[in-house]
Symmetry: C2
Subunit: 373 residues, 2 copies
């Protein structure tokens, strides 16, 4: 990234064309830009808002085309090969920096990086061979989660264990690939922070959200106001983003244990826990990602209402059943239904927290009552 | 319109592909729909968010294709030939109803229709021939505006006059087409209301906006809160929409004289004076138009902040210059610059009216200071 302020009417290339790409495109078209999306899927959600280059992420011809037709490249999928990002970096402008991608792709590298920044993480041990299972378990000395170092998301690439036999079995199940063992954190809550950073170091931070997961998939994010951990989380985000010379939106997930933050992982992109900002803040995370990579002034991250985001996983509700509730905004990614697949989300807005809680109950009732489909 | 509640994932056809179509598409893709736009322009703004069928509005093949590939047809341009709307109505579902289009296209028919609904309009006389100039002027007996009955917009098709010679000259200038003569209304302000109506008669009303024009083109719309004319305007909108069995977003422009409403004209579509709702209300006029034609519950029209909309006409500012002000949202339609052309708009949001006024001054300063281009 040169850090030069970009003009209007640019052609922006995006690695990945899922719902995050679609929402980036919807925000960017409104700002006067146009898009190309590289994605191997046949008809990914973002194909509706730009040119779809259908190819694998390491296809040389596709990458050359992307670089040729775009003024600036970014990404919405963090498992793009590091080599792809490095190649683009040599031939065009890319944000976030490839190094951020490389670190986020490997759970071990990522944890070591967090520790280098002075940030606390959950106890962990690297595990490369079946022989190490016993000693690794001994170090953690209790139940935990075995995770592949690479290519895990939405609960995939993870196995819970109780004892060293469980570690061994899990290691087989995950295909004997390099893993890390994480001790189970007895956390009070999970929170995340979405922030944006420009090349000149300016940053904007969204409020923390408290996240609930089901089967390893994000279920709901509630926007926290005046949370005592907002400042510590911002400091952690700044440390990470500055160390990486980061440009764009960055997300960090934390566990809260004894009222203190433990860094869990980061995503070098817009994030599901920031979807509430679409309609719930003056400037959404999607627009702020684009503003950041364009060198434009960052927009207000302030929620204008009490807000929560509820994912729609596996099946979509009847729109009428949920839209009749006040303060409901529906986002439908246009994907075909499949168990465990994120198909859309609802942002719920209310004048205050009490009303939001009451509306949230009604929403859950409506979702439970309605035949999905 | 059958009034049946539609499902998700529909293909919506739009007559017209300008910025209104683009913003309809941006709202609708997020709701899970896809779009085709019929527009004779080479690369209209909406081409970014759907399939562009490039053809004239009366091209039989293009209309057949539109009807074949779309589940539902609507419009964003009111000068589509009435015959086109009627043909579509016989072969597919179209909203708003063709009758609304027919009435809005002819200033005389429109004024007579308003009067039939018991609504007050400015004094007017029809003028079909040069010979009628003298007597028409005598009836108005003062300065006014001569307007073509058909195809006028953004100050086009209008001539001011002071005397009967002015009327004659204006009639020549406008090409001797049927006109109406309107007496100049000594109004205190111009306001408009955007509302949405479903086939079952349910309606949602946005707050009135106070509109300022420059050279016949809308310059700025300010959202009015608790205006005493809100209820009378809603009643007028309901009378008009009910009489037309209207479905979709409808806009009515009014003059305010002696504190009372005089209906000026209507637009059977989303409207420039409602653009503030994109980012300024929970549910924008674009989303509410789609919700209305789909039979979905209408969304909240309530502004979450003090808001105004400022058009960007003829040239665009440097994005950085305006986005650095808090509460600024920029919409760039991606059109090439041309004098008098609407290229984008800014929505300005603030916590209260006083802050909004101060921010508005700063915005005007930024726009004046910045080299446009």
């Amino acid at each position: 990234m040169s850090g030069i302020i970009k003009s209007s009417g640019l052609h922006i290339g995006v690695l990945g064309g899922g719902q995050l790409g679609q929402m980036l495109g919807l925000a960017g078209i409104g700002l006067g830009h146009r898009f190309s999306f590289l994605d191997p899927a046949e008809r990914p959600p973002a194909a509706q808002v730009g040119r779809h280059i259908r190819a694998e992420y390491d296809d040389p011809e596709a990458l050359e085309r992307l670089v040729r037709e775009c003024d600036l490249i970014t990404l919405e999928f963090e498992n793009v090969p590091e080599a792809t990002a490095r190649w683009i970096d040599q031939h065009a402008e890319i944000a976030p920096p490839p190094q951020a991608l490389a670190i986020a792709q490997d759970r071990l590298t990522e944890k070591l990086f967090f520790q280098q920044q002075g940030l606390a993480v959950a106890p962990f041990v690297a595990l490369d061979t079946a022989e190490q299972a016993q000693s690794a378990f001994a170090e953690i000395n209790g139940p935990g989660i075995l995770k592949t170092r690479r290519l895990g998301y939405d609960g995939k690439g993870q196995v819970r264990f109780e004892d060293s036999d469980g570690v061994s079995a899990g290691f087989e199940q995950l295909g004997r690939v390099p893993c890390i063992l994480e001790g189970l954190v007895d956390f009070e809550r999970e929170v995340s922070m979405v922030c944006a950073r420009r090349a000149d170091g300016q940053m904007a931070f969204y409020p923390l959200t408290e996240n609930e997961h089901q089967n390893g998939i994000l279920y709901q994010s509630r926007v926290l106001t005046d949370d005592p951990l907002q400042q510590p989380a911002q400091s952690a985000c700044r440390a990470v983003a500055d160390a990486l010379d980061y440009v764009g939106v960055l997300t960090i997930e934390f566990f809260v244990r004894n009222g203190e933050l433990l860094v869990n992982e980061m995503a070098p992109r817009v994030h599901n826990s920031g979807h509430w900002s679409l309609g719930g803040a003056v400037c959404s995370q999607f627009e702020n990602h684009l503003r950041a990579i364009l060198g434009w002034p960052l927009g207000s991250t302030k929620p204008h209402s009490a807000a929560l985001m509820r994912n729609l996983v596996g099946a979509m509700p009847q729109p009428s059943a949920v839209l009749q509730l006040p303060g409901v905004l529906l986002q439908d990614y246009g994907k075909s239904a499949r168990p465990g697949r994120k198909l859309g989300h609802i942002t719920l807005l209310a004048a205050d927290q009490t009303t939001l809680d009451a509306q949230s109950e009604k929403l859950e009732q409506a979702l439970a009552d309605t035949p999905f489909g």
